[in-house]
């Protein structure tokens, strides 16, 4: 099939490219070549807009999936670039030199998933969790419900009255 991404296959033979629908394409690439691929997409193919940088926790495979969503504003094409990094001591190359706003995404990923991006500006500063000392909360082995119940003083449920018993007690207190 002739897609706008045909020359990606020739430039990056390691990249696994597939089509979801017209104007939405996926590609998966090893971690080491990801920055090269993203740079190529921005500088050569015209994907100028970083829509989102996010992560998925594949705890069964012991992997984190990083997804970079890029957009070509002229051809109206979205591309989702995926890569997998190991879950133990996860580290990834930063892309803040391509898009400045990536530093914010990377700071959030550092806090919520514990993925480190060495060299990214202010990546170690707390983002919304100030003074967090547990494992990063978006990891799937973090039990949010248990943490919330232990930390935030849950209110015991209210007492409910069975209407039948309640009215019996109220109207005929002597008969009970």
């Amino acid at each position: 099939m002739n897609t706008p991404l045909d020359n990606i296959r020739t430039v990056f033979p390691n990249a696994d490219v597939w089509t979801q629908r017209q104007g939405l394409y996926h590609m998966s690439i090893p971690k080491e070549q990801l920055v090269a691929l993203v740079t190529h997409l921005k500088e050569v193919e015209g994907y100028l807009h970083l829509v989102q940088l996010t992560a998925v926790d594949w705890i069964e495979k012991n992997l984190f999936q990083l997804t970079y969503i890029l957009n070509n504003p002229i051809k109206k094409i979205d591309v989702m670039v995926k890569t997998f990094i190991p879950r133990d001591n996860p580290t990834m190359e930063t892309i803040h030199h391509l898009w400045e706003q990536a530093a914010t995404y990377q700071r959030e990923l550092r806090e919520m998933f514990g993925i480190n991006f060495p060299g990214s500006p202010r990546v170690d500063k707390p983002f919304i969790l100030e003074g967090w000392d547990d494992i990063p909360p978006y990891r799937r082995d973090f039990d949010t419900k248990k943490y919330a119940e232990e930390t935030y003083f849950p209110r015991p449920g209210r007492e409910t009255n069975d209407p039948k018993e309640y009215m019996k007690k109220k109207l005929y207190p002597d008969e009970i």
Binding site: P126, F142, T144, T151, P154
Partner: protein
């Protein structure tokens, strides 16, 4: 202000002399809050009436419920006719509306703002999130019970309460104040250690003075 501004450091005075400063001690008051005993009952009754008729609200929207406070300022609901108005700074306010969910990061700012308000001060908690966590009941970063961190005078249940409900809540608060039950600030001073222990349990990077008015 960043965290590094609160660290001990040596600065040069205009005369060229080095001065050691410790901002947490030098710039903030660390005295404990005091319980204010009521004066003569008949005079206190008059004061309470005056307080209830002039509720100045701190314009600090902590959560999504802040959107319901905007219509109160418009001609349709017009809270100003009840003597309620919004102020930009805690120093001028007497009512703190906690409007919805509170994340831990916001709670820290809320405590600082509450402690900067002048006595007597009242807290209205808006929405079910302040009562038991609401839809954030299993969130890792949202508090469940506001009354463990601040003394609450009136709860307005709902998600979100309509502006009419908020006006009804203000009427209830006025009633309580007139009856002399708006004692939140004294309650906070009496149980200061308990409140501080609860606050410090969840605010783990406590980098402000214990009491900072």
């Amino acid at each position: 202000m960043s965290k590094s501004d609160l660290e001990k450091r040596t600065v040069m005075s205009p005369d060229g002399e080095p001065i050691e400063i410790n901002p947490l001690q030098d710039y903030f008051c660390d005295a404990r809050p005091k319980v204010h005993e009521p004066v003569l009952p008949i005079f206190e009754k008059f004061l309470n009436w005056a307080r209830s008729e002039s509720l100045w609200v701190l314009g600090f929207g902590t959560g999504c419920g802040a959107i319901e406070m905007r219509p109160l300022m418009t001609p349709r609901f017009d809270a100003y006719r009840f003597g309620i108005q919004w102020r930009p700074t805690p120093r001028q306010s007497s009512v703190f509306i906690i409007s919805g969910y509170l994340s831990v990061k916001t709670l820290k700012r809320v405590i600082r703002s509450y402690e900067q308000m002048q006595n007597p001060k009242f807290v209205i908690a808006l929405g079910s999130c302040t009562i038991n966590g609401g839809m954030y009941w299993d969130s890792y970063n949202t508090i469940k019970r506001l009354d463990h961190y601040l003394p609450v005078d009136v709860y307005i249940a709902g998600c979100m309460p309509r502006p009419e409900a908020i006006l009804a809540g203000f009427e209830k608060l006025k009633e309580l104040i007139r009856e002399g039950k708006g004692e939140g600030a004294n309650l906070y001073a009496q149980n200061f250690d308990w409140y501080k222990a609860n606050q410090k349990k969840i605010i783990k990077d406590w980098d402000m003075p214990d009491y900072n008015w």
